[in-house]
Amino acid sequence: MTEQETLAFVLASSKALGIPLEAERAARVAAHLHRTVAMAQMLEGAHLTPADEPAEIFCPKSH
């Protein structure tokens, strides 16, 4: 995702979530999100199998 594409994503998804963003803030948010893209790409390299479930907290019954 390029910086321009990240900014476009920020503008669209902030609208979907109802977060108003003026231009300067949108640019700062996009810069933060763009840095996180590299981390997400690193995580894509984790060797997960279909059986690897998310870590849990929820417990249906307290014990």
């Binding site: 979530l17 977060i19 803030r25 997400a40 690193m42 995580l43 998310p54 870590a55 307290s62």
Partner: protein, 465 residues
């Protein structure tokens, strides 16, 4: 009474034996707060009237001949995300100021009260715990007591600074990615991030439900153990509290190193540490007779996953604030909260799935080791306002980089005692060593930390005011 000459256990013992009263001790600490906090800015909400009543009650119990509980009369303070009955829980924000006052004390405050500790107030922090520096724009930065031009660390910066300045012998904080360990390291005090799920978080303002931990800071390792023992308790009302029993450590501190397999973390934890941070680990290893190095699995990936989960859960938690009051939020973190709220769900789910296999890899590592050592921070405390750090050949954002060495550990949920140490080349500033144990093995970390404490290699130093 000079609070810089006292320690948690000395205060408790002095009151129990009648050397001084709880009210006298409290007066000394309140005076210390009043004469130093203009410099330190650790406190946001003192509660001296409540403290006076609690201290009087301890003195009355002693006069009656009652046996006093372990922390009777010991003053302490809490990060201002802990509920204090009758007080608004700020969590470092101004948007919370219009919330109603808390109707009850947080679970851990109740635990402290049950062992006689005296609550003197609430402490400064990064807004909603999203930061490692406590450069809080609303309430001002907390200043490092060993050099007032430098940060105290965060997000529990007030908790670290208050103990370092000897305003209190004990404090409580929270740690999601390093928020107890970073200020303990930078302020030169003892800190404990227990196992994830060990201590109840009920009655505290959350940040990241799936990673939040609570824990104590102390002016001595013995005091840290006494506080930890007091804080433990099974709580069915915190869905993240997995403790099934209380496992005290104070009676085992002196058991020594026999049977403990101890190593030093290399790779990531070496590469992202500056020379003084490496030195404190070498010094600790020398005291402990440790020579072997160990590689922690997937540290960089774990940090990335912790970062993504933190941003996503934190952003979602504050969605209403971001929609309606973003301009009233902390300028240093509000854009990161928004970016987190916008992260694709696939990133978050991938990070949570990774966390499960990561946990297994860390548990396999601890089949061969009992305790591992690493620096708590890459550097000593930077000057307030520092934007960038040069680490491992990279220029990194300073505020985020302070948690580089703590995030992979808390993401696995391992307990960590931070031992305050004092390297060369930092202009007298401390850096802490993380004494890391397998999940639910706090006692092993405490035994190792006790040896560091007894040797004189780790401990507090006086401040210059």
């Amino acid at each position: 009474m000079d609070t810089q000459q006292l320690s948690t256990e000395a205060v408790a013992q002095g009151i129990a034996t009648g050397q001084f009263t709880a009210s006298e001790v409290l007066a000394a600490y309140m005076q210390r707060i009043e004469t130093t906090d203009a410099k330190v800015n650790a406190f946001t909400t003192p509660c001296f009237e409540r403290a006076v009543q609690e201290a009087k009650a301890i003195d009355q119990r002693r006069t009656r001949g009652d046996t006093l509980p372990p922390l009777a009369g010991v003053p302490y303070a809490v990060k201002n995300l802990y509920d204090i009955q009758g007080t608004v829980t700020l969590a470092g924000s101004t948007v919370n100021q219009t919330n109603p006052p808390a109707q009850a004390d947080a679970f851990l405050v109740q635990q402290m009260q049950a062992v006689g500790a005296v609550l003197v107030g609430a402490l400064n922090m990064d807004e909603f715990a999203y930061g490692f520096t406590t450069e809080n724009t609303h309430y001002g930065p907390s200043h490092n007591p060993h050099d007032l031009s430098r940060i105290a660390g965060g997000s529990s910066g007030g908790s670290g600074a208050a103990v370092a300045a000897r305003q209190v012998p004990l404090s409580l904080g929270s740690d999601t990615n390093g928020s107890i360990r970073v200020p303990a390291s930078l302020c030169g005090v003892w800190g404990l991030k227990p196992t994830f799920g060990r201590l109840s978080r009920r009655g505290t303002y959350p940040f990241v439900h799936s990673i939040d931990h609570l824990g104590p800071f102390a002016d001595s390792l013995q005091g840290l153990g006494l506080a930890y023992d007091a804080l433990q308790g099974v709580d069915a009302y915190d869905p993240g509290c997995h403790a099934k029993r209380v496992e005290p450590v104070s009676s085992n501190l002196h058991h020594g190193l026999h049977g403990l397999r101890i190593g030093v973390l290399d790779g990531y934890f070496h590469d992202f540490a500056t020379a003084p941070a490496r030195q404190v680990v070498q010094d600790a290893a020398h005291v402990l007779g440790v020579t072997q190095t160990v590689s922690w699995p997937e540290a960089a990936m774990a940090r990335a996953a912790a970062f993504i989960i933190t941003a996503s859960e934190g952003g979602q938690l504050h969605l209403d604030h971001l929609r309606t009051q973003a301009d009233a939020m902390e300028p240093l973190s509000v854009d990161r909260f928004i970016a987190g709220a916008l992260q694709p769900a696939a990133w978050y789910v991938q990070a949570q799935r990774f966390r499960r296999i990561y946990r297994e890899k860390v548990n396999v590592l601890f089949e061969d080791w009992d305790v591992l050592l690493a620096p708590a921070t890459p550097v000593s405390a930077p000057t307030i306002g520092t934007e960038w750090l040069d680490l491992n050949g990279q220029q990194l954002p300073s505020r985020a980089a302070m948690g580089l060495l703590t995030q992979p550990i808390s993401f696995a949920g391992c307990p960590v005692v931070v031992a305050p140490m004092w390297p060369n080349g930092t202009e007298g500033m401390p850096i802490g060593v993380q004494v890391i144990a397998a999940p639910w093995r706090e006692e092993a970390a405490f035994r190792v930390a006790h040896v560091l404490s007894q040797s004189g290699a780790a401990g507090l130093k006086k401040v210059g005011f």
